[in-house]
Amino acid sequence: MKAFAHLLERLAFTGARNAKLRLLRHYLQSTPDPDRGWALAALTGDLKLRAVTPRLLRGLMAERIDEQLFALSYDFVGDLAETIALLWQGDGGDDVPLSDAVALLQDTGRAGLPAAIAAMLDRLGPSERLAFLKLATGNMRVGLSARMARIALAEMGTPDVADIEEIWHGLTPPYAPLFDWIEGGERPAQAALAPFRPVMLSTPVDLDQLQGFDPADYVAEWKWDGIRVQAVNDGGVRKLYSRTGEDVSGAFPDVIEALNFDGAVDGELLVRRGDDIAPFGDLQQRLNRKTVTKAMLESHPAGLRVYDLLVWQGRDMRPLPHSERRAVLQAVDFGSDRIDVSPLLAYATWDDLAALRADPPSPVIEGVMLKRSDSAYVGGRPRGPWFKWKRDPMIVDAVMLYAQRGHGKRSGFYSDFTFGLWDGDQLVPVGKAYFGFTDEELRELDRFVRNNTTERFGPVRSVVPRLVLEVAFEGLNESARHKSGLAMRFPRISRIRWDKPASEADLLETLRAMLP
């Protein structure tokens, strides 16, 4: 438990992805089974424990400390679990195995829970108490995705991350066979029905690069601005996975219900109303939900546009060339108006395709995809067989309003910039960007911020609104969370317009007009 608590503490304060990966890898390498497996499950959200309520915890404290002193403490600390971890009396000499804590939270009945939790807290030091209470309240919040955990696992041994993703959904905590495999043992048998299969990814391309390839070797499809998913029906077990293998079935019961086939297909998840494809923002409202309301199902119906077959009626299609997979796909009747097949585009030359790309039939198209007809379906991002040729980004000229200091490699540099557009005679913040510039430009931006600071709020400075930043972005959604009512996707600074006066920056209404 000491090592687990230390890991959680480090992860909570570490921003950089690589540093997080290293911390996790070192922990997993130096911790014995089954504790490391329980820790992994806790971090990836796969650990199902009895959730301890704030009420129970407050009750424990009421027996131990003056109510006013508790209230003053909680007010200062701001987090219930942390307040209790700090207030609890005990020296924490024991290094209690994490598996003991997990067993306690799995097996203790409701009546015995308060006493069992108190007895556990008595054995722990402050940092372990916090780790235990976070485990008990099911609230880790250390900024580590399941995908990152699998990358850390892949860094420990020979199986690569695609291999691990392929069997991940058949594994259960504390994952002893998985660790055994990573450390040189045998690959665990595929235990689950409807497993996730590693997705084939594309690499970006432009017209110049395409000149080196023969258009006849490729087929093209629209690139839809939805979410890449893998839909599986394996002997009646139906799953919808994101492209990183997260199970998103719970948020899309309408799509799950429509998966009346036997196989695994690759496609784009979209919100569609009849023939109309809704903008990405509509789809976003259906994401990250464990359940979805009936009203939402009706107002934001989801569907699937299929572009490949990985497994079909018991046959692994992946070794076949794309042309053969496509021929089978085109003959399929999915029997649902929620599922259709992504059509191929007719073109003879790259210039033909460029013309199509420049004038797509729907605003929810973000470019074209190119797939080599003879390519097998290979997990990962092989260079060559699949290309994405995205439409040019949208661009606005905005004014820098605030700057925040960065972390890690950018420590000491003002590197995160909030920018705004004109609304009447006011500049309204519309977004934040922290990349797109070179190291040299970062130094210049940092100097600008320091020389033009008007106010400081901790790590943030407001600056004289005079520097124009050309901001490129991939899409735009309406957003109630932002003051401007708009949220850019993937904004980055494409140019610094030292030459342009702030008064000539773009208007908020210009941005609003770019909404799909």
């Binding site: 230390h6 070192h26 403490s73 200062f76 701001g78 402050p126 490699k409 420590s411 940092d446």
Partner: protein
């Protein structure tokens, strides 16, 4: 004479009418008694200053030799006006003292200044001084503050240095006291190589060495390439371009506030180290119990928590609500 006739709060600080002096005044006064050299307690421009030899020397380093018109080293029992004062170690930083004020007739008052009871290799340990009225700080006056053994915090630092050997570790520590304590603790924790220090720490580190405190090999962190994995700097340096010379640093901060995560997050640190030069909750409550004063006065900090504890313990207490002292300089 009643206690509040001997010492009472004014806008300039605690004033003693029978001795006609202020303790740690926040603005220039004719006569000042100063507990320790931190900037919010020791200011320049007074007519005369009475303090420990080390506090006077530290003030001269920070403000120049003309920080006061006249100065007097505190030794033994000193008559000031109609009271007798004496200085006693407070365990906070080098030269820090509690000031005992004894009228010829009436209650004895001890003003602790900032104090700490954890072992600290860079200063003399706190000494309990019997008194009728004890004037305490309450910087960490809430039961959530129980500072761990500082060597266990140093173990977290060395673990991080081993885990990220290619990354320089920049630890924020206030220039007077905390910086030298962190260096000294790092030596105890087995960090033998050169430790780099920011320019703002140089003279105060030199002074500690002159006073016989071992800090080991210190090198200036001013070159473009600093050949040390551990770098100590005042926290303000992390907002300055100075920090840009370090490649992918781990930024830490040594402070008692680091036990609360929200505080550590506000600071934007990756490695919070709980190292405090102030009494924590167990220490302050233990001290009050040991001294058993007939009255407790609380100068600054989280006085509400300590006031509530006194109420529960039946100890008469009142907050002085002095202004001008910064909780943050820890």
């Amino acid at each position: 004479m009643r206690a509040d006739q001997i010492l009472h709060p004014t806008e300039a600080g605690l004033y003693c009418p029978p001795g006609d002096f202020f303790i740690d005044p926040v603005r220039p006064v004719p006569r000042a008694l100063i507990t320790h050299g931190h900037g919010d307690h020791a200011r320049s421009g007074h007519g005369s200053v009475l303090a420990t030899r080390q506090t006077l020397e530290i003030m001269a380093i920070r403000y120049g030799e003309d920080f006061t018109r006249t100065r007097q080293v505190a030794e033994g029992q000193i008559r000031v006006g109609d009271v007798t004062v004496s200085f006693h170690p407070a365990g906070h930083i080098l030269g820090s003292a509690q000031i005992r004020v004894r009228p010829d007739k009436g209650p004895t008052i001890v003003v602790s200044g900032d104090y700490c009871r954890a072992p600290n290799p860079v200063c003399a340990p706190y000494e309990p001084v019997p008194c009728d009225v004890f004037v305490t700080e309450a910087t960490f006056g809430l039961p959530v503050f129980r500072h761990p053994d500082p060597l266990s915090e140093m173990a977290r630092l060395t673990a991080s240095m081993a885990e990220f050997p290619e990354r320089p570790h920049l630890i924020g520590a206030y220039a007077l006291g905390k910086a030298q304590r962190v260096i000294s603790l790092a030596r105890q924790a087995g960090i033998d190589g050169p430790i780099a220090i920011h320019g703002a720490l140089q003279r105060l580190c030199d002074y500690h060495v002159e006073q016989g405190i071992e800090l080991g090999e210190l090198i200036p962190a001013t070159a473009a390439d600093v050949p040390a994995q551990l770098v100590i700097a005042p926290p303000s340096a992390f907002a300055s371009p100075w920090v840009q010379r370090f490649r992918d640093p781990v930024i830490g901060f040594a402070s008692g506030w680091m036990s609360v995560r929200a505080r550590a997050r506000q600071r934007g640190v990756e490695l919070p180290l709980i190292v405090s030069d102030h009494v924590d909750w167990p220490q302050v409550t233990r001290t009050v119990r040991e001294l058993a004063p007939s009255e407790l006065w609380i100068t600054h900090g989280n006085e509400d928590g300590l006031m509530r504890w006194c109420e529960l313990e039946g100890i008469p207490a009142r907050p002085l609500r002095l202004v001008g002292y910064e909780d943050e300089s820890e």
